[in-house]
Symmetry: C2
C-alpha cells in the first residue's frame, strides 16, 4: 500500500491525460458526424485523390426544416397539392406510327458518340438556346428545376476554363501515375490537354442547385438535385444529337469551386458537368467502342 | 500522502474503465470510417427518415484497386486507349434545318408532363423495347453502361411491387405527419395509394450497377454510375414522349432492397427509379405547374 501510494500522483496524471484524450477524440467524432458530406469528401480524398470531390451532393449538409418536398413521386410536392388540376390529353399515335417513331429515334440516338474533336465553326446561338430550353423541360424532385446552364462563348473565359481544367487534370494524372503505374507520362498527355476547351464555339457548364432560398430566408433543400440535373443533361444530349451537334460528357475533377468562382455562380450551385459543343471536326475520330446488346440491359418480368 | 494512498485502488479502477472506454470508442470510429456509405445512410436516417436510403451511392464502399477508369472525360478509359480510332462524320444539317429541328424537339418535349393517371390499355412491347434500347445509347463513366432496365408486365409482380411501395409510403407519411404536421391523414392518402402500379401496362424499374466484376473476380467500381443512369433515364423519358406514352418519375422511398429481391437482381444493382408507363387515361389531369423561363435557367458568358 505504501508502495502504491508513491504511484498515486503518477496515476492521477495519467488519468488526466487519458480523460483529456477522450474529450478531444469525442469532439473530433462529433465534428465529423455533423458534416457527413465533408467527412466523406475527405475520406475519398485520402483513398482516391483524383476523384471529383466537388461532385459530392451536399444535400445532407444543407438539410434544414423545410422538408415538405422529399416525396418519391416527383410531382407530389406540398405546393402542388393546392394547384388546379388541368385535363391532359397529349397527341396519341396509331401503333404503327409509334413503332416507326420509336425506331427512328433509336437510330438517331444510336448515332451519338462522345467526340473530342470539335470544329471551331460558329453555331447559331438560337439553336443552343432551344437545346437548353428543351433540357429545362426535364422532371425534377418536387418541381424544383434545380439547374443552371452557363453557356460560355467568350474566348478569354473559355481559355481560363481550359487552364483551370488542365492544371487539375495534370495533377490528377501525375498523382495516379506516381501511385500506381510510374510509366511514361507522355502516353497520357492527351488526357489532360483539352484543346477543345479553346476550340469549341460553346462550353456548356451545368450546375446543380443544391438548395434554394425561401421567401423567409431559410434554405430549402433540393432533394434529388443531382439526379434531376443528370436527367436534364440526358435530354440536353438528345437535343444536341437531334440538331447534329456533338459534345463529350465530362465531369471536371476538383475544378468545380474554381469554375464556379470564375463564372460568378452563387454558393448553392455546384458544377455537375462540362460539355464542349459544336460541329464535329472534319477529321474527327471516335474509338471503336460497341454498346451492350439489348438483352444485356433489358429484363422482362 | 497517506490519504491519497487510500484512493490509489479507486484511481486504478477508474483508469482501467477510461482506457476500456477509449478502446471501444476508437473501434467504433474505425468501423464507421471504413463504411462511410453506411454511416452516411444512418445519419440521414436519423434526421430525415423518409428519405430514400437506398439511393446512397455505395461507390465508396466498393472501391477497390481497379481505379483506372476514374477519368473526367467519360470516354477516356484505360481500355479505350487501346482501341482503333474510326472516322466520325454524322449527318450535318443546314442552319435553317437545325433551327427548325431544335424548335420542334423543344415543342415535343415541352408537352411532356408527369402523369399519375395511366390507362390500362396494352402497349406494343416492341415500342417499349425500342425505348429502352434508346436509353442504352447514353454515355456513361468509362463506358461502363451501368444500367439494368427491368420491365414488369406480370400482373402479380406488379401488385407485389405496389404492396411494397405503398407499405413504405404509408410509413413515411405517417412518420412525417407524426413529426411535423399532425393533420388529417386522409388528405395525404392519395400520396401513398399508387393505383397506377397495378394499372399501368408496364412498370420500368431502373437499377444502377454500382460495381462490376472483372474476369479476375475483383470488383470494378463504376464511377459516376448514378449520374450515368440518370442521364440514360433522361433519354428514356425523351423516347417515351416521342411515342406518346406517359409516366411519372418516382424514386420509391426505402423500397430498393425489397424490390431488388423481388425481381431477383444481383447485389451490385440498386434501384434508382420506378416508371409506370402507358397511355394517359382518358380523364387524366395534371397540376397547373409552370416551368421556369429560359432566362432563369440560362446564362450567356
Amino acid at each position: 500500500m505504501a508502495l502504491l501510494s508513491v504511484f498515486t500522483p503518477v496515476l492521477a496524471v495519467v488519468l488526466c491525460l487519458v480523460i483529456g484524450f477522450v474529450l478531444v477524440k469525442s469532439w473530433d467524432t462529433e465534428t465529423t458526424s455533423t458534416s457527413p458530406g465533408k467527412s466523406k469528401g475527405a475520406t475519398k480524398g485520402e483513398k482516391r485523390p483524383w476523384l471529383d470531390q466537388d461532385l459530392q451532393d451536399d444535400t445532407e449538409i444543407t438539410a434544414k426544416e423545410d422538408d415538405d418536398d422529399a416525396d418519391d413521386d416527383w410531382g407530389d410536392s406540398a405546393e402542388e397539392e393546392n394547384l388546379t388540376q388541368l385535363p391532359y390529353s397529349p397527341q396519341r399515335y396509331p401503333e404503327e406510327t409509334m413503332l416507326q417513331r420509336s425506331k427512328e429515334f433509336y437510330t438517331l440516338m444510336n448515332q451519338r458518340r462522345s467526340v473530342r474533336f470539335i470544329s471551331p465553326e460558329p453555331v447559331p446561338r438560337e439553336v443552343i438556346d432551344n437545346v437548353i430550353h428543351t433540357a429545362g423541360t426535364a422532371p425534377s424532385g418536387a418541381h424544383t428545376e434545380p439547374w443552371t446552364f452557363v453557356v460560355v462563348s467568350d474566348p478569354d473565359i473559355k481559355h481560363q476554363i481550359r487552364l483551370i481544367v488542365e492544371e487539375e487534370e495534370e495533377m490528377n494524372y501525375r498523382q495516379r501515375m506516381g501511385e500506381k503505374w510510374v510509366q511514361d507520362l507522355a502516353k497520357f498527355r492527351t488526357n489532360w490537354i483539352k484543346e477543345y476547351l479553346d476550340v469549341a464555339p460553346y462550353l456548356i457548364l451545368i450546375f446543380k442547385q443544391t438548395y434554394g432560398i425561401l421567401p423567409n430566408g431559410k434554405k430549402k433543400t433540393h432533394y434529388y438535385n443531382e439526379i434531376s440535373v443528370s436527367i436534364s443533361c440526358g435530354i440536353l444530349l438528345a437535343a444536341l444529337q437531334n440538331v447534329g451537334l456533338v459534345t463529350v460528357t465530362s465531369t471536371p475533377l476538383n475544378c468545380g469551386p474554381k469554375l464556379r468562382l470564375l463564372l460568378k455562380r452563387p454558393a448553392n450551385e455546384k458544377l455537375l458537368m462540362l460539355l464542349p459543343v459544336g460541329y464535329p471536326a472534319t477529321d474527327a475520330t471516335v474509338p471503336d467502342l460497341k454498346r451492350k446488346h439489348l438483352d444485356d440491359i433489358l429484363v422482362h418480368v
